[in-house]
């Protein structure tokens, strides 16, 4: 079990680094979708007795994070007839390097962060931190609205991974509520992106700067 879990977490970290380095927005969305599917596989791996509820969680996660949300973002991208490149404020190589450094630091601290008797191995907390950092990097250094939303998605994924440690404590109602909020949030955001496109003829959020002082 731990082997599979760790393999998935390593894949998830690799996807993070890919997300920081890619210049194609479509590839970025696909990466986020793949990460969503991988995350969906985790809850049944982690719980001791696989009942209906963990399976429902897994199915819902894969459905929403892997299929529905990426499709909404792809649609937002299609509607906007603009350049489909990411346009970072800092270059791709520095982004990857920053992401790699954050991951390395998180892994180096793994021994300190994990509780002594964790059944889930050492990787969960560092992966979660690495994902949070990736999400923040995308949120702060990219100007396109869709890219920022993906940053938010990766951030949320990082919190999801941390939540694995607490599966027994977090009621499924809350887990489902978090997923629902994420879905509705991205839905509302994609509508707003549509309106930004119409009003500003661009997805560039750095143009949203008339409100000051």
């Amino acid at each position: 079990m731990i082997m599979i879990l760790n393999a998935i977490l390593v894949l998830v970290i690799l996807i993070n680094l890919f997300a920081l380095g890619t210049s194609r927005m479509k590839a970025l969305i696909h990466a986020a979708a793949l990460q969503g599917v991988l995350l969906g596989l985790l809850p049944p791996l982690v719980v001791k007795d696989v009942g209906t509820l963990p399976l429902l969680m897994a199915v819902m996660t894969i459905l929403l994070k892997g299929i529905v949300i990426p499709n909404m973002l792809l649609k937002a991208l299609r509607d906007a007839q603009v350049k489909r490149e990411v346009e970072p404020l800092i270059g791709f190589m520095p982004s990857i390097l920053l992401g790699a450094v954050a991951t390395a630091v998180a892994l180096a601290l793994a021994g300190h962060l994990a509780p002594p008797h964790s059944p889930l191995g050492l990787l969960v907390i560092p992966t979660s931190i690495s994902m949070l950092c990736t999400g923040f990097l995308l949120l702060t250094t990219r100007v396109k609205a869709v890219t920022q939303v993906i940053g938010f998605l990766l951030l949320e994924n990082g919190i999801f991974v941390f939540g694995l440690l607490l599966l027994s404590a977090i009621p499924y109602l809350v887990e489902l509520g978090v997923l629902l909020d994420l879905f509705v949030g991205i839905f509302v955001i994609s509508i707003i992106i549509h309106h930004i496109n119409r009003a500003f003829a661009s997805q560039d959020t750095s143009r949203l700067s008339s409100l000051k002082g």
């Binding site: 919190i159 440690l165 977090i170 109602l173 809350v174 978090v178 930004i196």
Partner: protein, 518 residues
């Protein structure tokens, strides 16, 4: 069961609003739902034993308040024991619902303020008949419902879900006017608050994880967390608190995470701004209060206090800088909200009597902001503008709204005989009692700068003669536009002159619940 009914009122009303076909009559569902909501809140608050009187509590005037405060530490113990016997820290109806004493204060504020805003909205939407208002009505009700759920649940996870729901349901409200500026405000609001709140979820997880580290059973229920807090891992608990403070602090508008707030408050329709500034950010403050309570019970209150005082003063300083020379009346009020959230954080951080002041300030600030935003809404409708060169002579143009705006300015900057004067005085008194003389001096200095900065803008807007452009429009104060403004203002005045005993009971109950370790 009452709480369950309270939570169900809003979704039912929202569904009804979605079904009503008439654009003209649909908005009336808002006041109807608001009144039902308020009646249920009254039943819950009066029926739940929260009216238990503190000896000698109902007092008026600053000096007698201060003496009552000084007497409190003695009466506090027995009162807290009584409260614990009755409630065991809040009424628990089921595994999910429960109202803690600080929640009662915010619930009262949100419900009363929504009644005023709902009636105002009916008139406001009548002036905007060209806009379809179905989405607006549904979202406004869903917004109140989500806020009620944040207040009435006892699970940190469900609180988060409901808090994010307030963000999502209120985003379309900001976008109601469909202007470029309102898109910008909506985008910033959605993204900043969603990311901020995501951190609060991580913080909630950290707090739960702090139990695992020491081999306890993790839980997100407030009651479990409070029981286990002393045995939890301090480092994870502190990290969790920082994330909760940053997360809910973003929603609350604490500097330096406040940048969404002036935009959202400035661009949304005035009744929405009033709900944001009066109720929503107070609900976010409630979440900070609950987070601090966990840390306090864990014996780490000093750590939380330092952070809260720092952010509180920083928010006041930011607000002071941006309020001096502010031309946009609604943005000025928004920065005033940042300031007052700073005051609340300061009061919470200092604790003791200041905590009671902070609880009172939640009410006084909320109602004053309600009356201010609604009166600026009327000014905006009369002049077709909310910025300074266009708006002049508001007292002449709109005798009621202009006067309330002027008096509301005096109230919000802490002049007697209005409510905020009493609450700020109690916070200041608490700061001196706790021996924080430098903080008290900074607090007073910033209040003075804000008074001067805000005063210049408000006096220019209200005094003088009305420019020709401001007379063209035939808007006058009516029952639906002026009534809610006056109602909120009278509450502010009442809170400054005489605080009704049941309200005192609520406030004392809340302050003791937060002070006394179980």
């Amino acid at each position: 069961m009452d709480v369950l009914a309270l939570i169900l009122v809003c979704p039912v009303a929202a569904a009804l609003a979605a079904l009503i076909p008439s654009n003209r009559w649909r908005p009336w569902i808002l006041p109807a739902a608001a009144v039902v909501h308020l009646i249920l809140v009254a039943v819950i608050l009066l029926g739940g034993g929260a009216t238990a009187k503190v000896p000698g509590a109902p007092t008026t005037g600053s000096i007698s308040v201060a003496t009552t405060m000084a007497a409190l530490p003695h009466t506090g113990q027995s009162f807290a024991q009584k409260a614990a016997a009755h409630h065991s820290g809040g009424i628990i109806f089921s595994d999910w619902l429960g109202l803690d004493p600080p929640g009662r204060v915010v619930l009262l504020l949100a419900s009363v303020l929504f009644v005023a805003c709902a009636f105002y909205t009916v008139g406001y939407l009548r002036d905007h008949m060209d806009h379809l208002n179905r989405l607006f009505c549904v979202c406004f009700l869903a917004f109140l419902g989500a806020m009620t759920l944040v207040i009435c649940t006892n699970n940190l996870g469900l609180m988060w879900v409901a808090m994010e729901a307030t963000t999502l349901s209120s985003a379309p409200l900001i976008y109601f006017k469909h202007t470029k500026k309102s898109i910008e405000a909506t985008w910033k609001y959605l993204l900043l608050c969603s990311v901020g709140i995501a951190l609060a979820l991580l913080g909630s997880f950290f707090v739960a994880y702090a139990a695992i580290v020491h081999g306890l059973t993790p839980s997100l229920r407030i009651a479990d967390l409070l029981r286990q807090a002393p045995a939890m891992d301090k480092r994870w608990l502190e990290a969790g608190f920082v994330l909760l403070l940053v997360g809910y602090g973003t929603k609350m508008g604490l500097a330096p995470m406040h940048s969404w707030l002036p935009d959202a408050h400035g661009e949304s329709p005035s009744p929405v701004s009033a709900m944001f500034s009066g109720a929503l950010i107070s609900t976010a403050f409630l979440m900070v209060v609950r987070s601090q309570h966990i840390l306090h019970v864990a014996g780490d209150g000093a750590y939380a206090s330092r952070l809260l005082i720092l952010l509180g003063l920083l928010s006041m300083a930011f607000a002071a800088i941006f309020m001096v020379g502010q031309k946009d009346l609604k943005r000025m009020l928004a920065y005033s909200s940042v300031e007052h959230m700073g005051i609340l954080a300061l009061g919470l951080g200092i604790g003791g009597i200041a905590l009671l002041g902070a609880m009172l300030h939640v009410l006084t600030n909320g109602f004053t902001k309600g009356s201010l935003f609604l009166s600026v809404g009327n000014i905006d409708r009369a002049y077709g503008s909310k910025t300074i060169p266009e708006v002049r002579g508001a007292v002449r143009r709109l005798p009621l709204s202009g006067t309330v705006f002027l008096l509301g300015f005096l109230a919000i900057t802490g002049s007697p005989p209005f409510g905020p004067f009493i609450s700020e005085l109690i916070i200041l008194y608490g700061t001196f009692m706790a021996g924080h003389f430098l903080i008290a001096a900074a607090f007073l200095g910033l209040l003075l700068i804000i008074f001067i900065g805000m005063g210049r803008t408000v006096l220019t807007a209200t005094q003088g003669s009305v420019p020709a452009a401001g007379r063209r429009n035939h808007f006058r104060d009516g029952i639906l536009s002026g009534g809610p403004v006056l109602a909120c203002f009278l509450i502010v005045l009442l809170l400054g002159l005489y605080i009704p005993p049941p309200v005192w009971g609520l406030l004392h109950h809340a302050a003791h619940y937060l002070e006394v370790k179980p």
